[in-house]
């Protein structure tokens, strides 16, 4: 499955990129599983996703909890808790 990943705020700074397209291996079905896989993609990803409990995700621009299915997603974003307003 090919998907566009977006990173914001300190997740972006730690991965060193704002977005990328990746081919996910079969078997990654949820946001939490995707985070676990990303943690293994190099030291910058390990650092960016180390505190996975504070990372928030959005699937196709909608907030998604860790257990949400990524099936059919075209754009998945990772970011810290929001601080606007």
């Amino acid at each position: 499955m090919r998907v566009k990943l977006l990173y914001f705020a300190w997740v972006r700074e730690k991965t060193g990129k704002a977005e990328e397209h990746v081919d996910l291996p079969a078997g990654i079905k949820t946001v939490a599983e995707l985070i676990a896989w990303l943690q293994q993609q190099g030291p910058e990803y390990a650092e960016a996703f180390r505190r996975s409990e504070v990372i928030r995700a959005a699937i196709d621009r909608t907030h998604a909890p860790p257990g949400a299915s990524i099936a059919g997603a075209s754009e998945i974003a990772f970011f810290p808790p929001v601080t606007g307003g």
Partner: protein
Amino acid sequence: MRVQTADFEVGAEIAALTAGRSDIGAVVTFTGRMRADNAGQLVAGMTLEHYPGMTESELERVEAEAQARWPLQASLIVHRVGALKPGDNIVLVVTASRHRQAAFSAAEFLMDYLKTKAPFWKKEIGADGRAAWVDARPSDDEAAGRWRRPPAREG
């Protein structure tokens, strides 16, 4: 709903929403401004990052939710992004209704929800030049949480 780097003028936004309307009895505005201090530290400036596309859809969603909960004649959210300095405007919420309680409640709701749902992130530059991402406040989650209960009082 607008996301912009430019400043906004509260008076002009009210005028645009209420022009020619004689069915609006109450207009509430909330303006969030950048302070020169946060959590006890001096702040020299700030950069506001957001998630283009998702920001707009989340702001439209919270505005639609407010319209569904209260009888609003009009509402508006304007949020700035980019580089800001102390004293600058950050966010504007305007609500207009026949009566004041709906306008007040909807404005508070929009701010509480916006703060926990809209994908904005603040990076502050301290007086010493060091930049740091602002941490989310648990009190903002609590403020948003109170709207999950039915409102105690409307009208």
